[in-house]
């Protein structure tokens, strides 16, 4: 076994280990989001929790399909197509999450302000998100461009394209964060913001096709998945203090 083979093996093991951690965090985030959703009563808050759960599942799918492509069939057309479907779905799911969160933020704003004119802007953002999604799918189907064969080896730029409109929502969220005086919402916005920011960083800076970058990419994804987990946990404040003298305790 040559030194480069050993390096390749170590890289693969590390990538799989990080991939498993990331996948686990995403699934655990989804479990928490749906658990909290079940207990919430307000339709808007239930909806937000549902989409956090769906986002976590989508990202778990994304990380699994990514690993499959990297290790087994980097130039397989159908896997490339699957990857695009998941990436574009993730973009749309993120936008739904942001859209609902801005609505929640508006309600928690004592002055009920239309932050960033989002009520009007959202139609424009949704239109261009669908346009970008359709464009990227068309490029996979007709031009056979796959995530890993974009010139320069940088598929991240392509993903950033799909997510571009989502980041307009991110700006609106940032403004909501600055305006909100609600510590519960601010906590959720903080973790959502960190998750989105690191995701953009990973997809643009660390998606170069070098082994060191690939490991850093996966390690940072693990941190990002943790941010998503914290965002799911911060959907609603949960009380853990014992209910002493307040409930009959079962034998």
């Amino acid at each position: 076994m040559s030194a480069s083979d050993i390096l390749g093996l170590v890289t693969s093991i590390l990538l799989f280990a990080f991939g498993a951690i990331v996948f686990g965090f995403y699934i655990y985030s989804a479990v928490w989001a749906f658990r909290i959703r079940r207990a919430l009563m307000s339709p808007l808050f239930k909806e937000r929790a549902r989409w956090v759960g769906i986002a976590a599942i989508t990202f778990a799918l994304l990380v699994s399909s990514n690993l499959l492509i990297r290790f087994f069939a980097s130039d397989n057309f159908y896997l490339g197509l699957l990857e695009y479907f998941v990436v574009d779905t993730a973009g749309i799911v993120m936008l739904v999450w942001i859209d609902i969160t801005i609505k929640v933020a508006r309600r928690s704003d004592p002055l009920n302000r239309n932050t960033f004119l989002w009520k009007q802007l959202r139609y424009f953002v949704w239109f261009f998100t669908f346009l970008t999604t359709a464009g990227s799918l068309a490029s996979v189907i007709f031009l056979h461009v796959s995530y890993f064969n974009i010139p320069g080896g940088n598929g991240g730029a392509f993903i950033a394209g799909s997510f571009g409109w989502v980041f307009l929502g991110f700006l609106a969220l940032y403004l909501s964060f600055k305006r909100s005086r609600d510590p519960i919402l601010r906590e959720h916005l903080k973790w959502l913001g960190l998750f989105l920011f690191l995701l953009l960083l990973i997809d643009t800076v660390f998606s170069q096709d070098f082994p060191a970058f690939r490991i850093a990419d996966e390690a940072l994804l693990a941190v990002d998945a943790y941010f998503l987990y914290r965002a799911a946990r911060s959907l609603a404040p949960l009380s853990r203090a014992p209910l002493e003298r307040s409930v009959e305790t079962s034998a």
């Binding site: 919430l40 004592p110 002055l111 005086r181 519960i184 009959e248």
Partner: protein, 225 residues
Amino acid sequence: MVSTGLEQLDTVLGGDGYPEKSSILVAGPPGVGKEALGYWFTRSGLVVGDPCLYVTHLAVSEVLEDLKAFRISTDKLPSWIASEGSESKVDMNDLTSISATVKESIRKNVVDGKRIRVVTDVLSPLLMLNPPDTIYRFFGQLLADSKKNNAVFLATIEEGMHQPQVLAAMEQLFDGVLELRLYEEGPRVEPLFRVRKMRGLQPRPTYYRYEFSKGKMEMTPYVSK
């Protein structure tokens, strides 16, 4: 007594609902359904012919959206004081105008000293914009005036948004306090309800697990595992 609009809640409160000329505070974190108690209270008032006033920092359209989501009929609607979509507007930066508008609306809606139901979600937003002692005095005066006009007043407050001492001080102003919370026990998250205090009712420390379904509030005593 004044029905809450929810049969099981009436039972928990001793059979008939809230006391006459009372002020009720519903406290809980965002998303637990505090506003639903206000919607059902208003709905029940409209059905029996009580005049109802809904004071909100939201737009009327947003409240109507919520009513539909909770499957509460919108065939009869209350008088509104809202930030948008109502004849009387609420300006959250102007306490004097809020007070005057609410008092005027109560006077306008009350006929022959008949009971009126007032529901509001403005307490938390006002606490975010003003010092707590100002809001304490403002609400104290508003509640006293409302009672003089034979009103049953229900307000919601966001738990976790304000300092615990502010919340405790606000609770002092009200005759009844209903608490909603999300309780994490092991892998489960349970929505719990408790009557923290109620005028004329013996303290009942029992927590209930609750759920809104098919236009009802299902409540079962919660047994800690």
